[in-house]
Subunit: 365 residues, 4 copies
């Protein structure tokens, strides 16, 4: 119960279902004095909006954010920031067999068992629309991070088997293709792959990578609220994510210590690292290098190909899920992962501020 | 700050450094009436104890658990269970250069920056001894899970490049080799690999897999406290872990929906799944199938091979870390990952119990 | 930071300022399957609405609740229940000197110091409108409690020096007078007192008492989340409250043990108490008797009488606060205190459900 | 469940029963760099130790504190501080009828109902020994507060009907009498009263007052984690406490606004208050004046006078509780209330540090 909040000091609480009146988020604990406008939030929401390319659902959702509290004269006030996005398309319709079937790859079955009930009109809290609240919160977190010189950037690392290798990675190309890949060349091939799957009524997954620069050293609270641990929770909690790794991640497990250890060295009086296999964390705390986190997303479970399943009456049936579904959710998940990364860093930034007496004296003495 | 607690209802708080008087855990929220003895805990601690094979550190730590509270006449009382393990080898010694150097792959540098200070005698809270508290808590969680027919089992899936493929996996062989691999044949080769690295003063990593059977459907609290999200946090928070995945994990990102979706079907009146690519979760809730989670561990950072680094005075230096270090930490991490999995499930089991009015009426009406 | 949430399992998060677009609450962790309608909430909101008698502010706020999520086909779904109440009267106006003065008895000064800023248009989060979220949440909690046979009832125990003594207390008369006193006779005198203060441009305070019947034995989580401790937090957190007591409260401090101890005895096979000096708690857990909690409310700080104070420029000044203020806030606080009591009980009811293994087996085995 | 923790950033977790191996506390989130010794803690524990006067139990408990972690070279390290106090007198003995009786005024009955079990050897977690952990934590909190110029001081305001009026209050006399009253004259009379009750095999209660000076303006997190709200929770959670009030508290409820409002004025360029009816909080935040909180404690429930009650078999019986019990617990509760006040302030001090962007920039920019 009460699993809809994330963060300790910079704390977000999301709410809302796909087919109810709206979705939203309450951001509690955002420091006072940060410039924040509706446009800041809208820009983030627009990045996850459907209907932007042929690879995303045709649903036309404008997803307009309304700030209901916590901002006065263009600045945050220190009180909870409540953001509302109305759902637009709530017309009742005939859900037919879907309403009583357990869709493969969806949460219908566990929802029904857990709550004795399920909202058959959509995924309920498993709907992709739940991420609107996360994204709005991410926009606010990014405003705080930017004030401190921290930048966060996510992109599509892979679509199905089409991967942008590190050597080919061009951050400038991310916004030049509708898959948000840092390589127009790979995006071209990946796009053709997605198109072929759409023709086959199938779907695919991919990998999103997120980097952050400018993070002060020491963020992360040992031992359970480490930076990497909370990133893992925050990102794994996003709908389709099945894996999270930091730095070299799984690849590190097959290397040796003398390779994987990043040697420190001095540069211009600062402690630096020659390599960054660790992905910017040591002992679960930021180490001053670029933070690098990667998430694996499964193929969209809604496909119009015929699938076998059962219904609530316990009968074996075949279903085919029609409607406006994304053949690949990865491009729209980019901003969501960027948002969860930003929210996690923002929270740990606040927590870390009081880690030593000297810091506290800077505030009060 | 205050990052040493994990769980909401079944809540553990670990404490202790490698070179202080001891380490331990307080388990708050364990239901009353569960049989629990010191032996239950000792069995778990013995599984992570060093000195058991040639592949682990030679330190001889008996790690005896003492239950200080929360158990009366052999049963849990519902009050906090405090468990203490005294450190044995606390003699002061000359730490030499290590005391003022930032060891590559270790948390020395961020610790110093975060707290304005570091405990040079060992890793402090980054020491492997911190996992003793987790393991003791895992033993208690497992007692609760067993009462409800839930079983958790972890093992070494891979050591460096030596992987036990799913088809070769024999759970019965896990305890037959000192690497806790479910294949004596692969363990043999992996052992030779580790021995060769020891000769080279190097180290390696690996992969641990954990499975759990008998979990009721519906565990996990959308949207941030999903089963997979909390597993990711709990496991990623373990020292050397750099990646976590559920079910097919990263591999799922390159498949298609028609393959990755697990079809439901009826078997003996129960809803079952023909495959389990999802690893036992849907929408972040348990789906009745076997839970499968996998963790990537980096190579042990302490190696006696010469490495470049800097010291606290900002000088570039070479260091060689001598002492009794594990060439691979993976076998000792097996029980820690099993423990964090058990603790996570235990907590969500309690939370899920009050998810619907009917359940609450079963208790009170 | 992030102090806008209350409760662990039945968790409420309130947001909103008096002069922003609206106020509201997110209730996370409400079990699925409880009947809930907008009317249930509206009834509670109407009880705290101003403009209902000559003793409350003349502001006409209709305070219409809108349920944005968490309810489907008339029942709670187990997902967060988001409730929105739009502010009606947000026209900008000239706040004059008030905008830059620290009003005595108000939070202007600490708000300014804390956040480097204050919302001069009203009390911001210290505004009485903040309690709308609490009240809406209370309505939901009461629905849950009623399903389990628990009833909560608050009333005005005293207005200024006019107290309803226990012997004169008639619960049936609470709704028969606009001060919500369980004695029309005392209410008559208290009303005259309030009228006289209004003539003097002054205000007064009072005492609210809240009782609850039907609470199962054992609610409350030792040692910090005891029933009485959380009631104290929840009720003391309401704007004007300056004291909270349970049962005989402060009076108990001057009695002797042989008087204050409530003797147990058997009645119809049940353990009962001959007296209830304890107010329904023992060791911070419900003891099966009527819960009795009492709150002291200070006089409304907004008075039109001239007062001395300082302004933000550090000048000593005289101010007179005009506008539509309640001469006594107590009658409107009754439903807020009832709500916080209900929310506290609801949360502890859920927590207590998993206190022993036998209960958990009732759910899962 | 899991109600043994208090605080968000400066977070304490107490554990232990009166008749188990020991009691203790884990303090997580204490900033690094604060001087702390075993003696600092021992001094606090000695203040609550029994056997110090004829008015307290004759039990001889030395209550020696051992710091198990979190301190290195005389300073806090930022990691959890675990403190252990061994119980001394754990010999098993014949508890006779008491073991199966529900003692009036004690938590035996709700404990049994809650956990299906009770520890008949003492009060379990309701034992006064539970407060040892709180007191040790208080000693640590006070060390932090002192570094910032904040001082906390509690004393016995009243024993039974013997009250130290504000005009007679001499802080210097607190440690000159064994009742810790700020008036030797009143203490003399109160002592005679207690002696007379002891002769009658009866007990009494009293009132403890706690003041704190030097608190920065703005501490407290609206709306549920206000300074007064968390003080109320923390203090009400102490065993015998039945009421908590801030400033004028209940007395404020019968005054008028023009009296109760504290006028601001300028003194030496600072905003000050002419009176302090509010007790140092406005809107639940510290207002720069002296914090004043008061707690009502009930008479010790353990009396040797014959009382009526029932046993676990459901039989009406008479019992007489023999043993070494305090005729009045108030003097020993003084340091516990001081401790909970200090812990609450410490936690809110850390939380408030990040309330505005400017503060955060002081740390990171």
């Amino acid at each position: 119960m009460s699993g809809s909040s994330f963060g300790k000091l910079f704390r977000i609480t999301t709410w809302g279902e796909s087919h109810g009146p709206g979705v939203g988020v309450v951001i509690d604990g955002c420091p006072a004095g940060i410039s924040l406008s509706t446009e800041d939030i809208q820009k983030f929401l627009d990045r996850r909006r459907p209907g932007q390319s042929k690879y995303t659902t045709k649903r036309n959702e404008s997803d307009c954010a309304e700030i209901l509290s916590g901002v006065f004269e263009g600045k945050t006030t220190g009180t909870p920031i409540s953001i509302l996005v109305r759902n637009q398309d709530q017309r009742s319709k005939d859900y037919g067999d879907i309403a009583v079937s357990y869709r493969p790859g969806h949460a219908d079955f566990p929802f029904k068992e857990k709550y004795g009930f399920r909202d058959y009109r959509g995924g309920g809290r498993s709907s992709g629309r739940e991420t609107i609240g996360r994204t709005a919160a991410g926009a606010v977190a990014v405003r705080l991070l930017n004030e401190l010189g921290i930048n966060v950037c996510a992109y599509t690392k892979a679509i199905g088997p089409f991967v942008v290798e590190d050597d080919d990675l061009m951050l400038s190309e991310i916004t030049e293709n509708s898959l948000y890949m840092p390589s127009n060349a790979v995006a071209q091939k990946a796009g053709e792959y997605v198109a072929s799957l759409m023709a086959e009524k199938d779907s695919c997954g991919g990998i999103v990578e997120c980097i952050a620069d400018g993070i002060p050293v020491g963020l992360g609270e040992p031992v359970f609220d480490k930076l990497d641990a909370l990133l893992a929770q925050g990102i794994m909690s996003i709908g389709a994510v099945k894996g999270v790794e930091i730095g070299d991640g799984f690849a590190a497990s097959s290397t040796v210590g003398s390779y994987n250890n990043d040697p420190f060295y001095m540069r211009d009086g600062n402690v630096c690292k020659k390599t960054n296999h660790s992905g910017g964390t040591l002992g679960g705390m930021s180490d001053g290098s670029r933070l690098l986190v990667r998430a694996a997303l499964k193929p969209t479970p809604s496909i119009s190909k015929t699938q076998h399943t059962v219904n609530e009456s316990g009968e074996d049936i075949d279903i085919s899920i029609h409607g406006r579904h994304d053949p690949v959710i990865v491009p729209r998940a980019v901003v969501v992962i960027e948002s969860m990364t930003a929210v996690t860093i923002a929270d740990l930034l606040l927590q870390n501020a009081v880690s030593k007496l000297n810091n506290i004296k800077k505030i009060y003495c």
